[in-house]
Amino acid sequence: MNRRFSWFNATSLTLGFAFLYLPIVILVIYSFNASKLVTVWGGFSTKWYGELFGDQAFLDAAWVTLKVALVSSTAATVLGTMAAYVLMRAGRFAGRTLFSGMIYAPLVMPEVILGLAMLLLFIAIGLDRGVLTIILAHTTFTMCFVSVVVSSRLVTFDKSLEEAALDLGCTPFDAFRSVTLPIIAPAVISGWLLAFTLSLDDLVISQFVAGPSSTTLPMKVFSSVRLGVNPQINALSTILISIVTIGVITASLVSKRQIAQQRADEQAAVRT
């Protein structure tokens, strides 16, 4: 597209990003407000952070959430990568259409329905609701996201590399391990990150499948914000937003550097 960056473009970008970021900025500012009221600025204070870390219920919920996210995203990455490989490389098999349907359906299904359905399954098989049921439910819905990310990488990469490995005497498993996996590794890692974030973030499905003793952080946040603004939640949000921001910026700097390195290598190769 031809670039003619006009005043109109500059204005719409400024207003658009202000709309996207202003609410978050206000939230962060108010987390340092000494007054409990939104209306009054009571001076700078970090007391809400102190209260947050003094609240055992929040710490417990954070621990449950982290445990669930680590286990479920790892399981989802293994299952989702397998599923992507099956979809892209295993050729035809009985029930392939059903399989791809089951991969794509959870991506577009409302969370209330997923949560309800999985809860009814756990009740039907008599599994007590708790951390385990949250892990199983999160693994199931996040593996579909992992498999979409990984299969989009599998589509673009050169199949003949795998075939060469097979021709040279690799077993399919060896070929996968020494050729395919290193190539799709970035996609597998971003799949894991996506699954991890989705699990950390999930409210609705956890709300359905969690038991009384397993409250996740989003569930705790949800039950406190239904009563209105809560400065402790502002403090918690600020912490979470900072972690995400640092993570995303670091990731983009690392990938930028990698691209620069790659270009330099290519140029060096051309010169020699």
């Binding site: 597209m1 031809n2 670039r3 960056f5 473009n9 719409s12 970008l13 658009g16 709309f19 996207l20 970021y21 609410p23 978050i24 206000i26 939230l27 939104v38 209306t39 299952l79 397998m82 599923a83 490989y85 099956v86 295993a90 059903l98 399989f99 089951m102 991969i103 577009v108 409302p110 969370e111 209330v112 329905i113 309800l116 359905a117 009814l120 399954l121 039907a124 199983l136 693994t139 199931t140 593996m143 399919p172 974030t197 950390l200 973030d201 409210l203 609705v204 709300q207 989003p218 949800f222 914000v225 239904r226 209105g228 603004v229 949000s237 979470l240 921001t245 993570g247 995303v248 983009s252």
Partner: protein, 299 residues
């Protein structure tokens, strides 16, 4: 050739999804055809396999569509469905209105800005949905940031009531789903061949009419994809109406949740879920077709 590893590779994710995704839906369907009962679990009949064939026969015999006729007869449910459709459609339209200029600006921006702009759009994706919705409470409430600012500027004397109304839900949906609309439109605009617009202008089009006749139609695939990506999740939205909406904002996701947890009527909740799925199937199939067409056009 029988290959054990291949079988294992296919069966593991297959069985997992079959057990944790497909079977639950069969259960939902079954319970939606059952009757409510004051017991644990609160529905009849239960499938009694120990009674053999007779048990299966009596089980099938007791299934009926009572819950669905109940849904059709009770105005609460169909108004909830209709109002969800209306809220999803209107907020999708507003998301498009907000997103298009941003995507257009990004596509026109100098090359070296683009990675940063992309990152700024994607960053909210990784930030908690719940927190982003919650952040609007402090802005929209009666003594919130917006009313404070407007009163300080002297534009209004009494605070506007926005929180706990449908307006707040619209704002919440537009805000939360904006990146889903920006990204596909941006990728369509970025691919657009600039010489087409130059040609239109050389042939006497004004800038405005070149936009309407060339740019907008060529970005249509992005617009369609974005609209589906907003409309489909907005239809079953639960978090936004629960946090920002009031008691008068009916949305089917919230109705389902309350039916299940507050009324403990599992059969009706399951029937609500089945009908919601049936409504969603149409936009989902249209969306898949659109994606398919794009892929074929791209090849």
């Amino acid at each position: 050739m029988f290959n054990f590893r291949r079988l294992f590779l296919i069966l593991t994710p297959y069985l997992w999804l079959g057990f944790f995704f497909l079977i639950p839906f069969v259960i939902v369907l079954k319970i939606s055809l059952s009757d409510y009962a004051v017991s644990i679990p609160p529905y009849t009949p239960l499938l009694d396999l120990s009674a053999g064939w007779e048990g299966i026969k009596s089980f099938v015999g007791e299934l009926d569509f009572e819950n669905f006729t109940f849904l059709a007869g009770d105005p609460l449910y169909y108004t909830a469905y209709l109002s969800s459709l209306k809220i999803a459609a209107i907020s999708t339209f507003f998301t498009l209105l907000v997103a298009y200029p941003i995507a257009y600006g990004m596509a026109q921006a100098p090359d070296e800005w683009r990675p940063t702009l992309m990152m700024l759009v994607i960053l909210p994706f990784w930030t908690s949905f719940l927190i982003r919705v919650y952040s609007w409470i402090g802005i929209l409430s009666n003594e919130g940031f917006l009313n404070q600012t407007l009163m300080w500027l002297g534009i209004i004397d009494t605070p506007l009531v926005i929180l706990n109304t449908s307006t707040a839900v619209y704002i919440g949906i537009v805000y939360a789903y904006l990146p889903f609309m920006i990204l596909p439109i941006y990728s369509a605009l970025e691919k657009l061949d600039g010489s087409l617009i130059e040609a239109a202008e050389d042939l006497g089009c004004s800038k405005m009419s070149a936009f309407w006749l060339v740019t907008l139609p060529l970005s249509r695939p992005g617009i369609i994809a974005g609209c589906f990506l907003v409309f489909i999740p907005a239809l079953g939205e639960f978090v936004i109406p629960s946090i920002l909406g009031g008691t008068t904002t009916l949305m089917i996701g919230k109705t389902l949740y309350e039916e299940f947890f507050s009324n403990r009527d599992w059969p009706v909740a399951s029937a609500v879920a089945v009908v919601l799925l049936l409504i969603l199937i149409i936009p989902i199939i249209l969306f898949q077709r659109n994606e398919q067409k794009q892929r074929e056009a791209g090849q």
